[in-house]
């Protein structure tokens, strides 16, 4: 069972939830930029949440499925079509062999996730299938997918096959059959073009002058096009930042660093494990999706929250995913 990349799109990589346990060796976590969307795509095809999927960025690929399979698309709406017909997201979709999945305009968000029931059949590197591009580690040969790549995926489980037979009643000439149900609206993420991102104070917050702090919490920062999976460079200078370099310490997804130039950088999936610039803020986990679904040219603004609120919002997000997981378990009972 495999899929063939007919066109690679802007940046399509294999990602799971990340490579954990090796940061103390200088190996970045990598993984899906929008981990929640990946997890939901996996749940929708009956995979474990941490299964590898395709991360599709802005301009999507053209993919031919060599055999019948069950897929789900989550995250950004990039106008997906199978054999030229629009295909809905946030639900399992049975796709017949030799059919082609393509993408068009980005309608909402910029990163979409494709999960295939059975998962991708690729070697794990240091316990993860995630791709670390700069280090050429993991995923598909440590790189973005290219035209001609043929990626094997696992067999749909007997249970999944039996279950999908129940609603796959259409004639054989239908190229795809989506499930009639989808994720309830209360659990569906909404991605804004210019989101407000909640953050707590960073460890070096106290080192910044009052003027810098004020501007940090007020300014609309445009995401510089020179941004990538390592981090979002924000256009806009914080004044009087003269903290210089500090003793290197750990940084994580959502850490907002301010190098001597004064332009903040929000670290993302392919960030280094350690850094030496002062950390003014830390984006909360519950807002990671909103942040990464804004693209180059969009703007973000930061809103300060307390650590207690951040913990509370973390719990609520996990509760939502748990609710979806349980609802799907009931649906999947054959």
């Amino acid at each position: 069972m495999s899929l063939e990349i007919l066109q690679p799109g802007l940046l399509t990589t294999i990602q799971d939830r990340g490579r954990y346990g090796y940061q103390n060796a200088g190996i970045p976590v990598s993984g899906a930029m929008d981990a929640v969307a990946l997890r939901m795509a996996n749940l929708l095809v009956g995979n474990g949440e941490g299964e590898a999927g395709l991360e599709i960025t802005w301009k999507g690929p053209a993919i031919r499925f060599k055999k019948d399979c069950l897929i789900a698309l989550a995250g950004a709406d990039l106008s997906a079509k199978v054999e030229g017909m629009p295909v809905k997201m946030w639900r399992p979709v049975y796709v017949r062999e030799e059919c082609v999945l393509e993408f068009g305009e980005a309608v909402q968000g910029c990163r979409a996730y494709l999960a295939v029931s059975g998962g991708f059949d690729i070697p794990r590197v240091m316990n993860s299938a995630s791709t670390y591009l700069r280090g050429r580690i993991g995923g598909w040969a440590g790189r973005a997918l290219r035209k001609g790549d043929v990626i094997p995926y696992g067999e749909m489980s007997k249970e999944r096959r039996a279950w999908s037979k129940e609603w796959v009643n259409g004639p054989d000439d239908q190229s795809f059959i989506p499930a009639k149900w989808t994720v309830p609206p209360s659990l569906l993420p909404v991605y804004e073009k210019n989101p407000v991102i909640r953050a707590v104070e960073g460890p070096e917050y106290g080192l910044f002058p009052a003027g810098s702090k004020n501007i940090f919490w007020k300014k609309k920062f445009q995401i510089n096009p020179r941004s990538d999976r390592m981090g979002y460079r924000l256009a806009g200078t914080l004044p009087d930042v003269n903290t210089g370099e500090l003793i290197s310490g750990a940084v994580t997804f959502g850490t907002v660093q301010v190098p001597p130039g004064g332009e903040p950088v929000v670290l993302l999936a392919d960030r280094q494990a350690t850094g030496g610039y002062p950390r003014i803020a830390q984006v909360i986990t519950a807002d990671f999706s909103k942040l990464v679904q804004a693209f180059h040219g969009d703007s973000v603004r930061f809103r300060k929250v307390s650590l207690q609120e951040a913990q509370q919002l973390y719990r609520e997000q996990e509760q939502n995913i748990s609710t979806l997981r349980q609802a799907l378990q009931r649906k999947f009972e054959v």
Partner: protein
């Protein structure tokens, strides 16, 4: 002397800070806590990252906070405070000594002359000083397997290049200010390159992907061009 500061890094990590300066005593305390966590992790602990003066501990707030019944950060903070307080016995044995063969100069060390000249030393003296030292690996970071080495002799300290190179070959051994290091991957950089090692600091196919660990001691061993090519093949 034995005080620690603990602060959050968002809601998913806690930083234990042992001091404000890069020195051996602080390093020993960082590594001691790392060792304790390595031997006995707490439920919900994901991983820890040692740095010069800090140990950052990543955790799952749901598990540590018992699904919202308790404050996750306060729980982690209390736990780490206790663990960090345990008296550190003077390290009986130093960490392992790892010898790294280096072919100095020539095509592998295009900046060796500049390092010698700017420090008013001969090339032989620079090689002698650099390979005569023993360097402590304080931490890994910046890139896979990249060691932050301490203890370089001030006599060969040289400022970074004014114009960084676009691509420094993997294995390059360089000097930047008062630091020395080895590039595990090809990256741009402004280091003064004095030699190259045929050994790979990081190989994802190896059982132990990283050659070095925090706490190791590195010695550079000069080798000839022939030995370099032999080792590389």
């Amino acid at each position: 002397m034995n005080s620690v500061r603990i602060y959050p890094l968002g809601e998913i990590a806690a930083v234990v800070e042992f001091g404000k300066r890069i020195d051996y005593e602080t390093h020993v305390r960082v590594m001691a806590l790392a060792e304790r966590l390595e031997k006995k992790s707490f439920p919900g602990m994901i991983e820890y990252v040692p740095a010069y003066t800090t140990l950052t501990v990543y955790y799952d707030p749901l598990i540590v906070g018992k699904n919202g019944q308790e404050d996750a950060y306060q729980n982690v903070r209390a736990m780490l405070l206790d663990l960090a307080k345990v008296k550190v016995k003077k390290r009986k044995e130093p960490g392992r000594v790892v010898e790294i063969p280096v072919c100095y100069g020539g095509e592998f060390g295009p900046d060796l002359d500049e390092v010698a000249g700017s420090n008013k030393l001969s090339v032989e003296e620079v090689i002698g000083i650099h390979s005569g030292g023993q360097y402590l690996v304080y931490m890994l970071g910046f890139a896979p397997g990249f060691p932050y080495l301490g203890g370089m002799d001030e006599r060969i300290a040289t400022p970074r290049k004014a114009t960084p190179r676009q691509a420094i070959p993997a294995g390059s051994v360089g000097i930047a200010g008062a630091q020395t290091g080895i590039y595990p991957l090809e990256t741009p950089g402004g280091w003064q390159l004095i030699g190259r090692t045929p050994v790979s600091l990081f190989d994802p196919q190896r059982e132990d992907p990283c050659l070095l660990r925090a706490g190791d001691n590195v010695r550079f061993v000069p080798i000839t061009k022939e030995e370099y090519h032999k080792a590389k093949s």
